[in-house]
């Protein structure tokens, strides 16, 4: 299945920094490096969303939100 690509804009200062960094890695281009980093960020964000809410933390924060007037 072929991958479709879109375009985004990045500040040129940042591109220069990434170009320097890419020289020391196995990535062949800025685009490849940026794609990898963004995939990791999105994966981390999705994992955060999948977390199980801790009952203990919930009870603690509920108590605090009641004291602050947010919850009855």
């Amino acid at each position: 299945m072929s991958i479709k690509y879109g375009e985004i804009k990045i500040p040129t200062d940042l591109i220069k920094k990434i170009e320097e960094r890419v020289k020391e890695t196995e990535f062949e281009s800025v685009a490849e490096y940026v794609t990898f980093v963004l995939e990791e960020v999105v994966k981390d964000a999705e994992e955060d969303l999948e977390e199980v809410f801790s009952e203990e933390d919930e009870e603690k924060v509920k108590e605090r939100l009641r004291a602050l007037g947010y919850l009855d």
Binding site: V41, D44, A45, D48, L49, E51, V52, F53, S54, E56, D57, E58, K60, V61, K62, R64, L65, A67, L68, G69, Y70, L71, D72
Partner: protein
């Protein structure tokens, strides 16, 4: 124009961690809110604008009454200005419907039985907060070009989103960087002030026991939130 960037729950340690230079300015530090029994948003901003501790008076109204508090201009230090503009400040120009819905969604989140339901409600809660934030940013940006001698923009996003997402570093960093960019658009001297900061309870956020201040003009030390009425008056 004297400008105050009032950012609810702006946390001192995060401003430093995310290197928000426009929020730090030349001088920055913590505010002293130790005289208050709890760092309640409505109590702190009410005390700020009246220049005195109003914890007893505001909490006597009960939770519902507290959130509906609305002070007259003449009771606040804003009255010393000819053309003040105050955006969305709790206890003064708070957008009631917006913030009532936030608390309703917060309650729904904690009443939800399943993690899936909590995740869905949290997404609605966050979207509601960010949509409001975009409106406030626009209003503040327009006001910077207006004919006012005092402008206060109150931004609730760090507090509202923080209560259910403070443990999400990426989301909080995005919010702090956004507020840093808002500060960059201010061309006159300005003060950054928060009522309290925030501290983690797992993924959630609680109010911390100090606020944040910054100024490009003067090192204010460890001021009380009630000192700012005089501090701002002296800047006139």
């Amino acid at each position: 124009m004297i400008v105050v960037l009032a950012i609810d729950a702006l946390e001192y340690t995060m401003v430093e961690e995310f290197n928000c230079k426009n929020l730090m300015q030349k001088y920055y530090g913590k505010t002293n809110i130790s005289e208050f029994s709890e760092p309640r948003t409505m109590v702190l901003w009410s005390s700020f604008m009246n220049g005195k501790n109003l914890e007893k008076e505001v909490t006597a109204l009960g939770d519902e009454g507290m959130w509906n508090t609305k002070f007259d201009m003449k009771n606040t230090f804003f009255d010393q200005f000819e053309k003040p503009k105050i955006i969305d400040l709790p206890g003064f120009s708070y957008t009631k419907e917006q913030h009532d819905k936030e608390r309703m969604l917060l309650k729904q989140f904690f009443d939800a039985k399943s993690d899936k339901e909590k995740t869905d409600i949290r997404a609605m809660y966050n979207n509601h907060a960010f949509e409001h934030h975009r409106k406030i940013k626009q209003e503040f940006s327009d006001a910077l070009n207006g004919d006012y001698d005092f402008l206060l923009g109150y931004f609730s996003v760090a507090d509202v989103v923080g209560h259910l997402n403070f443990g999400n570093r990426i989301m909080m960093k995005m919010i702090y960087k956004d507020m840093n960019e808002v500060a960059e658009t201010i061309k006159s001297d300005y003060i950054v002030l928060s009522d309290h900061g925030m501290e983690k309870i797992g993924i959630f956020g609680d109010h911390s026991s100090y606020g944040f201040w910054s100024s490009s003009v003067k090192n204010l030390g460890n001021p009380k939130i009630t000192d700012f009425a005089k501090i701002i008056k002296n800047e006139q």
